[in-house]
Subunit: 453 residues, 2 copies
Amino acid sequence: MTAPRRDGGSPLTPPRRDGGSPLTPPGRESRFSYLSHLECGRCQQRYDADVRQGLCACGSPLLARYDLRAVSAQVDRAALASRAPSLWRYHELLPVRQPAMVVTLGEGMTPLVPLPRLAAEWGIADLLMKDEGLLPTGTFKARGAAVGVARARELGIGRIAMPTNGNAGAAWAAYAARAGIEALIVMPVSAPEITRAECAIAGARLYLVDGLIGDAGAIVAGAVATQGYADASTLKEPYRIEGKKTMGLELYEQLGWRVPDVIVYPAGGGVGIIGIYKALLECQEMGWLGGKLPRLVAVQASGCAPIVRAWEEGADRAQPWQNAATVAFGITVPMPLGDFLILDAVRGTGGCAIAVSDEHILAAQARVAAVEGAFICPEGAACFAAIERLRKDGWIGGDDEVVAFNTGAGIKYPQTVRVRPPVLPAGSDLPGARAKTARGPSGPPRTRAQPAS
Amino acid sequence: MTAPRRDGGSPLTPPRRDGGSPLTPPGRESRFSYLSHLECGRCQQRYDADVRQGLCACGSPLLARYDLRAVSAQVDRAALASRAPSLWRYHELLPVRQPAMVVTLGEGMTPLVPLPRLAAEWGIADLLMKDEGLLPTGTFKARGAAVGVARARELGIGRIAMPTNGNAGAAWAAYAARAGIEALIVMPVSAPEITRAECAIAGARLYLVDGLIGDAGAIVAGAVATQGYADASTLKEPYRIEGKKTMGLELYEQLGWRVPDVIVYPAGGGVGIIGIYKALLECQEMGWLGGKLPRLVAVQASGCAPIVRAWEEGADRAQPWQNAATVAFGITVPMPLGDFLILDAVRGTGGCAIAVSDEHILAAQARVAAVEGAFICPEGAACFAAIERLRKDGWIGGDDEVVAFNTGAGIKYPQTVRVRPPVLPAGSDLPGARAKTARGPSGPPRTRAQPAS
């Protein structure tokens, strides 16, 4: 495997094109997608985007490339405002070529919610949360699934298989059902239980594995080799990341075509943060975005922090994390395939990688709910635990504008809140005093630090 | 109690105004809200909107009235397209007077999802689902909570109390936390369990009652009388309905300022359908909407159908339903306070009221997920069960455009899907044949018809 390219920028940087693109003959009318080809994120080998592709021959993920010059000539950002509030408003920068191939449940344009009370508490000029819980299936995974499934259908794929920590599988199962594609999903027994119901009701073929996501991946690899499934594992097909990158596009548009100082994102497989970085680089390339990029922060749990360890050691690649375990189950990924891309996104923006404890994650989750009203998932809460610490350490400054991504709805994680409300008989009166027992003896809701099982 | 007004139209019809409104002096600049006063939905008594109000002296709900002539002169519908995709885009028609008093988690502009495969299966020209699961707290209750809590804060209310079937309490607890308002929530022990966690983590004072929502209401009434809480029960304060009516405004805008032939909505307390009807009448009054109104269908479960019984009997009021029980727990409301308003919405539009069985509800839920990819709540599924039957009966015609509301995310109802996937040891291979056991022996996911407990 070749070393990551260090000459001439990030592997995520779209290649600069000299002269007019062969894909945009003069006078040609606008296209729905300006996808041009696929390119290895590591060795830059080019591949045809219009046939089914997996990894590069060198074993690294392929990235979708677009005729960005044509997009920038074609798309007026101001005119985007009148498009429907879904991620498909950026269709020129997405890989689906035919509008009829779009598979949508209305995903995208999630709200950017100000958190003024937490900002004041932590001494930060502006703190905003992009709430990815408000998507179909309740997590940001819907973005990758919508675009990935749509492109799979366009390429004639009829069966997909994937390992998952639960939420990605639930999302791909839903979109696959909508597209009429068969889905095989394998998840750890410890994945959030609701995701089993989501896969089942969508008609997916579902298995649990007594292990972690890597064990699920090994089972899926076997099914791909012997049973004719297309492999939809993280970064093993090129289009999931394209859906995820719309988080970056939306944030940029929602801030009035401006970027914040810091973006904080929980990193498991890392496609979210890789996608946001890819979006920002594409906006730079199109001349939409000048000046400094936001510092990207990859947040992991201290019980599974291979990226943080590699970042601290100055390494280009991560090493597998032993005995991984955290309440933020979605980021329990001991060895992400896109490790070098995550590290590149962090280093390329002057960002950092940071690990936070389960205790701190659950405390942050409770604080965000009590102070700002949002019930977020533990992976999202990890961002707030990280922000609090980075502000204390001075890495985040008092005048920084900080955007955290909540990657999913708290309602998918009932076990993160312990609650034992009093039960009254019908016809009785409420106890007269404020009953402390309603929220547990110590005031705030009690939480427990075990992952779901 | 006076009989419902039958002379001169619906109690929801805004009064026509002759001459200029005293609230719009000539040359006055645009206002954030055009709220003018409150009016009893039954006896038309007027009340001051700028002090805290509950029910009318006659015992009926108060409705918010606006200076609609001024709104229609002030608001250019086409210009709305560039406003942020939240329900606050309609702020002129909402009761919050000061922008700084808005309490928001990014609620509104939920997607209108086409369901082409179900439409073809059932022989309907166009079938669309407005998916209210994509709101903060995962249900449509967020709309009423956002507007109700914001207006409560604006009126200086510091403590609210309410009975709930779960989801309304969860939503009001979240928005109250965001607004810094104390919330007392009482819900039946059978309400969806996740809503307990939502109330608790938001810091609400939470009690369960061994009974139904009426029993919870009696306990809340005692707390309101003796402990200084403002009563936020369904229709006992005037502003929840204003949040709900934005469902109608959004639908109208999303269809290109056009209405469908039929709107199907699950009715428990009925505020959703009342709100949609109120929105349509206000649009008529402003001259935005001409022609026929959509036929409004109120859907109930056969285990709790007081509105359907009253409708079938031609009665003006409902009678309490005995031994109420249904898997669609959110619409288990044996005696809705707004019964006459629901019946008016149905009759005033040439609509109907229909009851469907739990078995049919769960089958519809499974079908929508398997065919269209959306995991909806049982209350939303009741709409589809109703549509299927109304189409078979011919009440819905083959060329009708039908919009169903899914009022919440299926992920809040894990007990509606029974799933027992096979567990594989790490390192094993997938069974070679397509394993029927992954979805239960009979293909589609098995469901059970018991409500949550």
